[in-house]
């Protein structure tokens, strides 16, 4: 880690900014595929989208190890998260409570992260997938809890085979990771309960 990194500020009004961000994240996972604005009013460090940084500032603390790609971990983003969240940055994906991945990068696979256990499926990694855009990509149809009939999303800049990985994650339900696709100051939730594929 470089020591000459200047760490930018976090929330200026932690109570209300984190509450607003949390409601957006809760809505994102309760209504999968809906675009939720996570405007924390912060300037994110290099390498993190505003929504990613706000989500981690809201949810992560000393109890939640975070996995970042090494280029982020060793840079400003890593220093920023260590300082503001007090989280340990881990190098093994399977040890992480939260992870940030680039949607276009091949490694690591979603299956490399912690899917929880039969008795404690809640102890799984929440992965924030930073993508090039939340629309304009390949259209996929979502069904499942939180979706009235079906919902279509088309996030862009995701690696080949990404949707097959998400479908495989759903097959392991109730185990599995939960995804938040982020770009700019918005997120789309894809909890493990969401089924990928054709509408019923």
């Amino acid at each position: 880690m470089t020591t000459d990194t200047l760490i930018g500020p976090g929330f200026s009004d932690p109570v209300f900014q984190s509450q607003g961000a949390f409601r957006a994240l809760l809505a994102a996972l309760a209504e999968p595929g809906t675009r939720q604005g996570v405007a924390g009013g912060i300037t994110p460090p290099d390498g993190l989208h505003a929504a990613t940084a706000t989500a981690l500032l809201t949810l992560a603390d000393y109890e939640t190890p975070i996995w970042l790609p090494s280029v982020l971990r060793d840079g400003a983003a890593g220093a920023w998260l260590r300082f503001h969240c007090g989280s340990v940055l881990v190098s093994e994906p399977g040890d992480a409570a939260f992870a940030v991945i680039d949607g276009a990068t091949i490694d690591p696979a979603l299956s490399a992260f912690d899917a929880g256990t039969d008795q404690f499926p809640d102890r799984s990694t929440t992965i924030i997938v930073q993508c090039a855009a939340l629309d304009g990509g390949e259209t996929v149809t979502l069904t499942g809890p939180g979706i009235a009939r079906s919902r279509q999303i088309a996030p862009a800049g995701l690696r080949p085979g990404f949707w097959a990985e998400v479908a495989a994650n759903n097959d392991a339900y109730p185990l599995g990771v939960d995804l938040l696709l982020s770009h700019g100051d918005a997120v789309l939730g894809l909890p493990r309960s969401t089924r990928i594929g054709e509408a019923l």
């Binding site: 809760l26 209504e31 008795q119 809640d122 109730p174 909890p191 309960s193």
Partner: protein, 275 residues
């Protein structure tokens, strides 16, 4: 930490997420779970309604509403349609909940299998293995003994075809309202340190048998005050000679109907005149 538990609860509908329940300014068993969940989500833009057995004006409901009005400076209401967050103890409002509303339940015993198997280690395994035979045996024994399923409240449901869940001790009359509800439903059990959730548009099916289908309570007479039918009624004792009346459990629904001119047999005079 409560917020992280809520997100995982929403991702695995019906599964009970353990959380570190905090000390609250009231005794455990008085709604500490519901208060913690409400406190974790509530913000300046919210309007809060609190009900206790359907009523807005009972001690627990009044106290919790005043608590959040004071510490969170949020608007409060008694009207179901105006509320964004409704904290409830054991009822679901009669008015249909809509998208964007959040229903927060205060839950005493979150584990539906607890009275059948007291050991947490065992019930946790049973949930992991989806081993719910014991619950069906319990319902069967009801039929063998009483000729029908005698469970009338805390009637077990299966969520999204996976987890058997305790709907908190709501009357089984309210179970069908949980199925494909447009509102997000969050459950907090403070003493038992569990949080669980049902997202909007989620399958919530009451357990039953092919030849003994699930049924809700039916009332012979309408509400004595507002004449409503098809709502859940409470019995009120009027004197010590056996006199009694049945009135709406949902006070907001009842007041709203009376304000719109509906009259039951014991309504007497209009509300305005009473004031």
């Amino acid at each position: 930490m409560i917020r992280r538990a809520l997100l995982k609860a929403v991702a695995v509908p019906g599964y009970q997420v353990p959380f570190g329940s905090r000390e609250m300014p009231l005794a455990r068993g008085w709604g500490t779970g519901g208060i913690q969940v409400t406190a974790a989500i509530i913000g300046p833009a919210d309007t809060l309604k609190v009900i206790d057995q359907g009523a807005d004006d009972t001690t627990n409901a009044v106290s919790i509403r005043a608590f959040f009005a004071k510490v969170a400076e949020v608007a409060t209401t008694t009207h179901t349609a105006e509320a964004t967050i409704i904290q409830t103890r054991h009822r679901i409002p009669e008015a249909k909940l809509t998208e964007g509303q959040v229903l927060v339940y205060q839950v005493p015993i979150p584990e539906p299998l607890r009275f059948l198997e007291p050991r947490e280690t065992e019930t946790r395994k049973m949930h992991a293995l989806e081993e719910y035979g014991l619950m069906h045996v319990k319902l069967y024994e009801d039929i063998a003994r009483h000729g029908r399923i005698a469970t009338t409240y805390a009637y077990p449901v299966k969520v999204e075809g996976r987890y058997v869940m305790d709907p908190s001790p709501t009357p089984k009359f309210d179970n069908p309202k949980m199925h494909m509800s447009e509102a997000l439903q969050l459950f907090g059990a403070g003493r038992e340190k569990r949080i669980y959730a049902v997202p909007p548009y989620t399958e919530v099916v009451s357990l039953d048998f092919e030849d003994q289908p699930f049924e809700i309570q039916h009332f012979e007479d309408p509400c004595a005050l507002c004449g409503a039918e098809g709502v859940y009624l409470d019995e009120v004792i009027l004197d010590d000679h056996g006199g009694h009346m049945f009135v709406c459990s949902d006070t907001d629904n009842c007041e709203d109907r009376r304000a719109h001119g509906h009259r039951g047999t014991l309504a007497g005079h209009a509300l305005e005149a009473a004031e």
